[in-house]
Amino acid sequence: MMAVAAARELRDGDVVFVGIGLPNLACNLARATHAPRLVLIYESGAIGAAPERLPVSIGDPALVTGSLMVCGMADVFQYLLQNGRIGVGFLGAAQVDRFGNINTTVIGPYDRPTVRLPGSGGAAEIATHARRTLVMATLSRRAFPESVDFVTSPGHSYHGQSRRALGLPGAGPVAIITDRGILEPDAATGELELTRLYPGVAASDVARAIAWPLRIRDPLREVTPPSLAELAILRSRFNSPNSSSERQSA
């Protein structure tokens, strides 16, 4: 459902910075359904990728074979991302706070973390520069605290400063796609609120899994269930890498 919801956020022709895991699925699903002109860009330097297998990492060799262009990472970050040429950026998150700030660095204090997470990678600059950012995260009170332990990637308010005041060019996280529904920022305050629910989920189920008092937008909408076509594509289209049929054409 998360992959389907994310895929539907993409528009045909979007230039998308793709991450590993669900964003990969979402982008490839969108490309196979309503957005055949989607341009998939990976921070590894593959531009217009058309992978014939589901990539395990953002540096998978299948991203190169049959792509439109391969460039160095200095080009990707400076000429494409920083220069405003990326429409959509996908991010994952260990923690997302009330204002959409994202933590992928540490749980606990930075100097002596309880859990050391991987860090930014390209996330800080994607959340800064992509014209809009889509975040994918599974709901829990630990994952959705009032404020994150460390701001790796900027959301809508940092110690009271807005994105505009901070000089951040992109719109930031415009949708947090969770396993039960979708959160979006309030246009004025940047506070995340519940705007869409998946079928069969109650708003209270979402509110219970979030550590701040969750605002619910009126009207609250329901996400259309996955179509048979979407499910069929998700289930059949991509083989797992290093499997016996790994190079079977998609």
């Binding site: 330097g45 540096g59 309880t114 990678g121 390209g122 800080a124 701001v151 000089g167």
Partner: protein, 312 residues
Amino acid sequence: MSESHGVGKRTTLHDAIAALVHDGDTIVIEGFTHLICFAAGHEIIRQRRRDLTLCRLTPDLIYDQMIAAGCARKLVFSWAGNPGAGSLHAFRRAVEGAVDGAGTGPRIEIEEYSHFGMVARLCAGAAGLPFWPLRDFAGTDLPKANPRIASVTCPYTGERLATVPALNPDVTIIHAQRADAEGNTQIWGLLGVQREAALAARRVIVVVEELVDAAVIRADPNRTVLPGFAVDAVVVEPWGAHPSYAQGYYDRDNAFYIGWEAISRDPRRLEEYLETYVYGVADRAGYLAAQPALAERLTAEPRICAGVNYGY
């Protein structure tokens, strides 16, 4: 043309590491998922180099192994995970928690950036400038965690821009598909920051899948990423990037990356791995002899490009 028939800068990996990598050095073994030179990392472990400052965007399994082996004093990085598979547990043991290293392996210092921050550091290093400006880090805690992330006011627009300091490694080691004996080096597939990392370094080791005649390089000069005059040593080491990959030669060993999660989680299993596949073999040929099924499982299928006309 006879220019490539000499020994040139060719040497063995053992001799290149012995001559060019010293205790206390700042080193970069680059390659973004693609072309990570595990052969060189293993040789550095075997030669028991100590107090290294290890720099890479993604420390990957190779630096996890070097941290576990006690080679590292410090890690400079931007994303420390096992791509697509989990964590780098030797790294995590070296930086996490209240236990002060007792029985859990060496602890290390860290200096952390984002990918763009690391790329910009290497751009400055390669360009011979002291720093690089970038529009990044506003509204994040990264500058608090790393005071070397600073800022500058643009003299033309007045805009406040972030800055990162140049990274000029003592040694950069890159893996490539092919080079000639003088070190004119060609890469295709993902380019990462191989070129910037090499041109920023004081000493450069290039490890290749294949040594080719200079005529092969000259037939397709647009594919050259590094001129020979910037290279100090050329080492031929087929499969030298495994379990990373070399486009057109062999696929990434995703099963090994997934398996590393369990190995690195257990310090005893990690030690056994190093004993068997690093200390227990003399060189890369020994490593490959211990894993005879690799070629059958991972050899790349041909997807040949037609080439272009360089005539005039």
